[in-house]
Structures are given as structure tokens and as C-alpha cells.
Symmetry: D3
Amino acid sequence: MNSSVYVINPNSSQTVTAAIDAAVAPLRSVDGPGIVCLSLTEGPPGIQSQRDVDGVIMPMLRKASELEESAGAFVIACFSDPGLHALREQSRRRVFGIAECGVLTALTLGQRFGVIAILPTSVPRHLRYFGAMGVMDRFAADLPIGLGVAELSDEQKTLSRMIEVGRTLKSAHGADVLVMGCAGMARYRAALEEAVGVPIVEPTQAAVAMAVGHVRLSQAFTP
Amino acid sequence: MNSSVYVINPNSSQTVTAAIDAAVAPLRSVDGPGIVCLSLTEGPPGIQSQRDVDGVIMPMLRKASELEESAGAFVIACFSDPGLHALREQSRRRVFGIAECGVLTALTLGQRFGVIAILPTSVPRHLRYFGAMGVMDRFAADLPIGLGVAELSDEQKTLSRMIEVGRTLKSAHGADVLVMGCAGMARYRAALEEAVGVPIVEPTQAAVAMAVGHVRLSQAFTP
Amino acid sequence: MNSSVYVINPNSSQTVTAAIDAAVAPLRSVDGPGIVCLSLTEGPPGIQSQRDVDGVIMPMLRKASELEESAGAFVIACFSDPGLHALREQSRRRVFGIAECGVLTALTLGQRFGVIAILPTSVPRHLRYFGAMGVMDRFAADLPIGLGVAELSDEQKTLSRMIEVGRTLKSAHGADVLVMGCAGMARYRAALEEAVGVPIVEPTQAAVAMAVGHVRLSQAFTP
Amino acid sequence: MNSSVYVINPNSSQTVTAAIDAAVAPLRSVDGPGIVCLSLTEGPPGIQSQRDVDGVIMPMLRKASELEESAGAFVIACFSDPGLHALREQSRRRVFGIAECGVLTALTLGQRFGVIAILPTSVPRHLRYFGAMGVMDRFAADLPIGLGVAELSDEQKTLSRMIEVGRTLKSAHGADVLVMGCAGMARYRAALEEAVGVPIVEPTQAAVAMAVGHVRLSQAFTP
Amino acid sequence: MNSSVYVINPNSSQTVTAAIDAAVAPLRSVDGPGIVCLSLTEGPPGIQSQRDVDGVIMPMLRKASELEESAGAFVIACFSDPGLHALREQSRRRVFGIAECGVLTALTLGQRFGVIAILPTSVPRHLRYFGAMGVMDRFAADLPIGLGVAELSDEQKTLSRMIEVGRTLKSAHGADVLVMGCAGMARYRAALEEAVGVPIVEPTQAAVAMAVGHVRLSQAFTP
Amino acid sequence: MNSSVYVINPNSSQTVTAAIDAAVAPLRSVDGPGIVCLSLTEGPPGIQSQRDVDGVIMPMLRKASELEESAGAFVIACFSDPGLHALREQSRRRVFGIAECGVLTALTLGQRFGVIAILPTSVPRHLRYFGAMGVMDRFAADLPIGLGVAELSDEQKTLSRMIEVGRTLKSAHGADVLVMGCAGMARYRAALEEAVGVPIVEPTQAAVAMAVGHVRLSQAFTP
């Protein structure tokens, strides 16, 4: 087996890519598909606006095209799943989006999912996506922590705000499972779960787990 | 009053733009906002794939940016509403998508709307969009006429297929109003409506009508 | 062009009709359809109860019947859209309801719409209607300002309550667009929008804009 | 106990009222509430259009008002439930609509309900109502038998068409329970159920059963 | 007429069964079907967990099998409707679940139903069930009173908590009708309704009323 | 790492368990969690009825209890997910149901999922479950192949019927992804996918893939 799962972080931040890489490391096995995490050089430092989301699609498709031959599957590692359907159209490999997989995995862990977003402006974009996914009957709420880039570098503050928002999602909106609405924050997952008291889904892990499973199964059946 | 409604056809076809221009001509008034239809030079000849949809967003945003000052409203004249939310984010003007306005207008004309698509591959993209719009309880079906570019130039064949698909949407799927799932085909609307026997919404007309109304109202209240 | 858009206020209040007339004035053009606003003499002073809604249908149908020949379209200017489907059945012209058009227009301006109602007893009636429209996945909440007729004549108090309710719809229920759940209150729209910070739809304007567009288009194609 | 369940057939047909009376006879008990079926003199011979539905509301409310003192509950015996909410508003008694109760009872007998309508024009009206009821996820289809008044007097033809439509609802639309979309046709129920092979709900029986239960319970607890 | 409605309380508590018996007593008539309430000896003292729900199904089916010949209908008197579909499959009689009938009856009394649960852990189970019923568009919220067995024996405390939760469901979640999410608590119904100011459905009464109606109708038509 | 994924086939058929074992074999890795497939001795030879589904829950819970200490996760390998929530309640490990995971995985592969069931009587049970999952907006149809046990042993006949049903789901119901509504039939997956031309999800593989991913991730973070 030598096909790889390519995890494309569509922003240019190496720090985020490194965090993703650490988060999915346990999914690597000695006899399984490689998991390669990479940044999109052409992407912005962070993906915040709808314009950012739409703007990374073309370069992401080009990057994926270069990787096609050695790919077993692709994972788009941004919670807006930019270019998910364009890449599905372009590639002969399966393509997993972290928002899609994160939410679907959450549906196995609770009856009403909440989402912890970073910015308020992302919330309507998420809602459109959950509507397209047809899962609004399972949706509790999507609330932002509302921290800017500078504040996000303060880990204690970030965790505190996540816990605060998570508790509101649970107590005021009835969420019994939460999805982290951002890639690269797996390091907060355990502490957040402990503090809020409901399962927390880290979406990159959810997507890569499904991708690895797919590659193993497809290689077995198409030798 | 001198603010214009800019109707951006995000493909590069002047023929389609001319057809749109003819379709919305009745919405022009001597004392109302101008209605300017334009093609996107950078766009593909036609928008067929998800890649086409995503690929026109950035040039469309640039074009809209140039027009911003003289714009009263924008209409994105492609049934996949490419870049709708990115343009809403970028512009201080209201932005109307023809798919959104076409479907919403259909909801005033029947209880279950059907859509006549061009290509089969557009159907799941439309379904995702109707899900994001939250209107699936009103949805009958979306069926393609399945004609390629060459065949579409045969007007009689195109109309025949549209009528055939429209009748199936009505009789087998219970649609009592239909939306034309494409820009630039207003010339078929009356014949189609006559033949199928349910109201037919031409989406560019639906969107421009709403845009003109908005510009008139906003100019009156913010002189 | 000489077909008119008849805007029927199904209550008997000339004050309300005058307010509607002022609200839609910007939609008049020198070469476009007339817009004629009228009160229903047989209607109650205000429409508050379900009985009021149902009771105006027959006189409204009679009035519309008298206007049929010179009509290009009808607009029913009460937020419960009384008799909407009976008039659609009776008339050869298109019929627009302000609740339907107000909500549909709101769907182009935000992902979750809230409604500012006048009376608490109207709320379940609105909910039934939004359910019939199939838009509950986009619905945030519908909250009443709870003022009686006497208090409504106090404009400052009315605006204050509207702002208060609008802010609750935004902050506690996640609405990012609001619909005024009543005809004749367009004079509050700009101040309300300014104070709450989300787009506000005045439903009579929304409906008349769509009606005018329709008349222009239909006259062009059926000379 | 002397409070009565008043079953108001809002059309003027004594034949229909007699058929309703026969259908609900088994629900009478010697020590239970009376069940009084009556026609609405002011009603049309049959309720077919939306105008018919809306037109009977005011006379129905007046009739119910006269009966209020001796009423334990009201049943509106027309499948469009005309005036249901206006009567709920007016009366201190509970009010049951046969469409509402027929559909809700069907939900206890199968997972997807189909409706056998009389006229094609009733179908969108039913759909709006099922949407307002919020039960579209359980809805299979609503199909008309399409017989006019003259043909409906041919019982064999009527039953044959009902069976035909019932079988289509079952096989082509996946309905596993059917509701008769009309009052006064209980005499066909057993034969229809036998022929189609799924449970058939006669909506007047469903509504009166719930009304009788309510009157018994309310009298016990409010002596 | 001698067929009975068997009301099976699937827990072993004679106290609860006696309370159910008292609640449904007004539904007995001298010439109607008997109503026999019984406890399930093999059941737990109370049904609290999903394991309790699933664990009573097999003994309940055995008990129902013994009663089949003399049964006119069955009512499963636990708000999780354990074994509802298995018993429907096994029996030739109709089977009514109190949760299903309680919620459906609530849909005739208000536009958004709230549920007063006993334990927090029951809430997601209820939500799954309401989802399976397809009624989430009518759902306001489901909140627990959160009292343990010992506290539930304190009637004043139980009523106080029910009132508190009922008021929250009404004011914060917009419920305009409430369902008691438990069997055997009919004695609180009137006081709760009085205190909260919206209709309260006692689900055992709702189900038995429908069952009695069904038995009367089926005996009349299949003599 | 030594925690195992226990895949419990809740029927007693060793043949089915062996087929499951073969299907999930590619998901084993030398350094990953063991995957142990086992039959439930107390289960019926096949799970066909709701009674079968409910009847296996208690023995399945007992079996899972014995395995708890060495378990990393459980997979319930029957398309009705019997006891899913009872086991989630009982166990400290995550529990995956093949129907839930099969459908959720399908949502990443197409916009409307169809299900190939074995027996017609399973269809309403599946629909209730999809309703509880809140995914009916993505549902195309669920159709049975309708073969009895004897016929199922004829592999060619079984595959032919699956293909036939799959093609109907695609062409008549608009499904663009299919889920095999049964465990132990992975051997047909590739041929079915080839013949129908849409992705086919084998639900046991989908569930075990998610379970393996979870065990790897949880072991890494809770050493």
C-alpha cells in the first residue's frame, strides 16, 4: 500500500498545518496509507471570509491535481470545506471535508450538535452548509468565540472562551455534542470535553479517520 | 436616479448576455434605475461544472468591485448563483442571485416547484443549494434536458425537450410551478408555459424585478 | 401600459392605507403600471384575530372582482395574507401577499429571519403560515411588541418596543434579518434597521416591488 | 352528562350529513356525550374551491356561537378544516378538524400517509395544510380521484377510482396508510381497506372519536 | 361489545397503574369497551433508562399475547412507547403508544408543543422519537424536572417543579401546549394547566381516548 | 495498543459473521486495534422483524458487558442498529451502529441516498430510523429486494435483484448513492457499484472504519 491521504490545509499557515499533523498522527499505521498534511502556499494566512473560502478553491484544485496520482483520498482541512464538490468532480479519489465529516461524526455522539465557531461572520455560512447537508433537525446552535488573530495566540484565553461558549451551547441550546468549527485546534479538545461535559469532535480527526478507512478498503478491493 | 442594476452573466457568451438583456428589457423605466447586462470576459463560454461555478467567483468579484460606485444592486445571472455570498460580503449594495430569486418567486406561484436543468451533473448542485435555502419541503424534482452545447443551438429541439421534462415534472412529480434552471432562455418561457400548463419562472426576470424594486426603494429613503 | 397594481388593505383604516401608499410611492414610474392603494370599507378598523382575517375574505374577493378588468396584479396588504389563495383562484391576475413576499425577500438578506409581530395572538397564526410556506428551517423567532391600538398611536413607544424586540430576535434567537409583521409601518423601517443592525424588510414594499415587476414583464410578453 | 359533540358539516347537503351521522353512530354511548351532526344551511352544496372553504367560515362561526352553551366540543366536518382556528379562538370548547385528526390518526397506523382527494384543485390546498401541520416528512402523496358531482353519485365508479388511486399511493409513492380526503364517504372505507391492503382512516370518525374522549375527560375533571 | 382496551403499564408499580386507572376512568361507558389497566410484573419499578425501555419489550409482548383474544386494542402506558412497533407487528389489534398519542393530541391544541420530562437522560430519547414521528417543526423544547424517585413522592415539590418547567417552556421556548412526559401523573394536570396558562395533555388519557374510539368503530363495522 | 473493536453480529449466523469478518479485514493494521467479529449465540438465525430487533437487545447488552474491559469500541452489525442507545448508555466505550454509519457515510458520497433493503417489512422501520436521524431531506427511497432466506442463498439471483432495485432507486427516485441495508453482503458491493453506476456503501465497513479511527485517536490522547 502506498497511496496517501492528502490533508490540504487551504491556508498558508505552517503552524496550523503542523497542528493538524499532530492531531492526525495517531491515525497513521505502519502498514497503512500515508497521511500527508500540507499548507496551500497560495492561501491566505487564515480563512475568515466567504471570499477567503472561495478564493482558495482554484489553487487548491491545482494542488490536488498535482497530487492525484499518488493520492488515495483527499481531506480539505478548513471548516468551510472550500472546493469540496469541485474536487470531487475533478478527482477520481474520494474527497472528505472536515466540516461535513465533523458534523456527521457528531451525529453518532449526541442528538443535537452545537458548533464552536471562531468568528461571528462564519455562522451564517455554516448554517447554509448545514442546510445543504440536510441536518438542521439535529442542529442546536452555532456560536462564535469572537476572538481575533492576536487573541487566538493566547491559548488560555482561547480555551476559556471555548469552554464558555461550549457551556452555553449545552445549557441554553440543548447541545449534547459539540464540533470544533475550525481546523488546527485539537490541542484544546480534551480540556474542552472535560470542562463542558459533552463529547467534542475535532473535525480534522473525524475526516482523516474516514479517509484512512476508505483507502484501506478501496485498496483491498481494487488490487 | 442614476444607480444601475448590474446584471453580471458570469460566462463570456455575448449571446447569452444579449438574451438576458432582452428578457429584462420590460423592467426598464424612463425614470428608474438603469439595467446593465454584461458578460464576464474571464468566464468560460458556459458554466457547466462545479469548477466552472467556483472558478468565476474571483473575476466576478473584481468586476463587481469596479462597478461598485455606480451600482444600485447586483444580479448574478447564472443558475448556480456563483459568488453570491462573497459579493454580498464585499459590496455595500444588495446582491440578487437568479437561482435564489427564481425559486423564491416560484413559491408565490405554486405549492411544489420543479426545476428544468440543462445537464444531469447540475442536479445535485441545485439540490445542495435548495437545501441551504431551506425549501426542500416545497421541492418536487429537478430534471435535466440533457442536451449538449451543439444541441442547445437547435431551438426547436431545446423547446421540445423542455416541454417533455416540464410535463414529467408536473405529472410524475406533482410540480405546479416550474423554474427554468438556466439564464438566457427567456424566449422559451411563454411557449413552455402554454404547453405544460403551469406557471414558468424565468429566473433572471425574477431577480432583476426584485433588484429594480430594491433600488427604487433604497434611493427614495436614502437620498 | 395602463394595468394597475391594486394594493388592497383589507382593513378600513384610511390612515393605514395612506401609510402604505407612501411606502410604495418610490415604486411608481412614469411609464410603469399604476399602483393604487385602497381600504376595504367592509373590513374592521384593524385585523387582529383569526376571525378578522377570515372575515375580510369574502368582501375582499368582491372588491377584487370589481377591479379585475383594470388590474395587472393584486397585493393583499395584511400580514396574514387573508384570502390569498381564494383570490389566486378567482383572478386571472397574479396575486401577491405581503407576508409571503416579505418573508421570501428576507430569505435573500439573511440566513435566519425573525418577525416583529404586533400581538401575541398573531404568533401561532404566523407559525402556521411559515409552516405552510415550508420555510421553518430558516425561521429564528416571531415575537410580539404587545401594544394595543392606543399605544400604537404613540410613535416613539412603538419604535422603542420594535427596537427592543428586534434586538432580542437578533441576540437571543440568532435572526440576521427581520420582517415587520404588519402593514403600514414603513416609517419605522430605517430607524429600526439602524438601531438593530440587521436588514429590515417592510413587507408591503417587498410585495409591491414583485407585483410591479410582474406586470411589466407580463405586459411585454402578452401585448 | 349532557354536553354534545356538534359535528358541523359546512356544506348544505343533508345526504352528506346523514352519511356522517351513520359513520359516527358507533361512537355514541348511552352515558356519554351526545353527537349531533348538522348541515350548514348557508353553505354551498359541496365545498370544492378555496372560495367555498373561506366562504363558509363566517356562517359556521355564527352557527357554532348559537350552539356554544350546549356544546362539549365541535367537529368541523370538511377535509379543509374551514374556520378551525377562528372557531378555536371564538369558543371556550375544544374544536377538532377532520383533516387534522384524520392525518394525525394516520400517523399512528403507518409511516407514510397518502391522501385520496376528490378534485385535483384541492391537492395544493391540502399540501399547504400539511405543511402548516409540520408533517411533510411523513407525507407520501395526495392524489385526486378526479370525479365530478354527477360521477360521485355512481358508487361503484367512485369506489373503483378510490381503489385505483389508493393502489397508486401504495405502490408508486410508498404510502402505508391512507386518509380519505373527504367527509361523508365512510361507507367505502372497509372495501377500500380490503382492496388496497393498508389501513384507511375515515377522518370524521377519527375526529369525533377524539372529541368524545375529550368531552368525557373534561366533564370528569370540571364538575 | 366485550372487547377490552388493555392499558399496559410496563413498569411493576401498582401505584402508577392505579393512577392511570383513575385517569382514564371517565372514558369508560356502560355500553362501551372495558378499559383494563395492568402492571407488568416483570418490569422494573420505574422506567428510566434506555435499558429499562428495551428490557420490558419482550415481557410486554408475552403479556399482550396472553390478552390478544379478549383485546380490542392495546395502549402502552410509558412515555417511551416501548415495543410499540413490535406489538403492532405481533397483534391483530391496534396498538396506541402514550407518547405518540400525547404528542399528536397536543398538535390539535397549540402550534408548538413542549414536553415536561422527569429525567434529563430521557430528553435525547424523546428527541429521537419526535424525529422518527416527523414532528420536529412543531417542537418547542423538552425539559426535565430532574427529580429522583424519593423527591417525586413529595407531591407539592413535584407540582412546583412541573409548573416551573412548564413556565420556562412557555416563556423561553414559545410552547403553547404542553405534554406531560410520563404516565401516572394525571392528578397534576388541572393545577398545572391553571398555573401555566396553556393546555396540558395527559398522554395516557390521550391514548386511551383514541383506543376506545377505535374499538367502538371497529366493532360496529366488523360484527 | 491492545483494545479491540468488537463487531457484534446480533444474529447467530456464523456465515454472516464470517462475511463481516472478511469485509472488514482490510481495516486491520499490524499496529492498530484488533477487530473481533462475533455472533450472538442467543440471537435468531436472521433479524427480520421488529420483534427480532428488540429481542436481541438484552443478550447483546450482556455480551457487550463481558467484553467491556478489553473493548476499545463496539460496532452493532445489523442494519436496524438494535440496542444502539442502550449500549451507549451502558458502556464507557463508543458504540457505532452500521445503519447510522452507513447512512452518514453515504451523505459524503451523494446528495440523495437510497437504501436496498431485504424485506418490505423493514422499510417503515428504516424510515422511522432515518427520521430519528434527521436526514429525511437527503433521502431518496428505500426499496426491498424481497427475497426470502432460501432465495438469498442464490447469489446470482440476489445480485440481480440488488442491481434491479439499485437501478430503480437511481433512475426513478434520484438516488446518487446507495446503502446496502443489510450486514454480511460486502461481496456484492463492487459488482453492484459497477452495474448501477453510483457509489455503494457497505455499512459494516463504514462503521468499523469509524470505530478503528476512534480507538486510535482515543488511545493516543488517553495513555
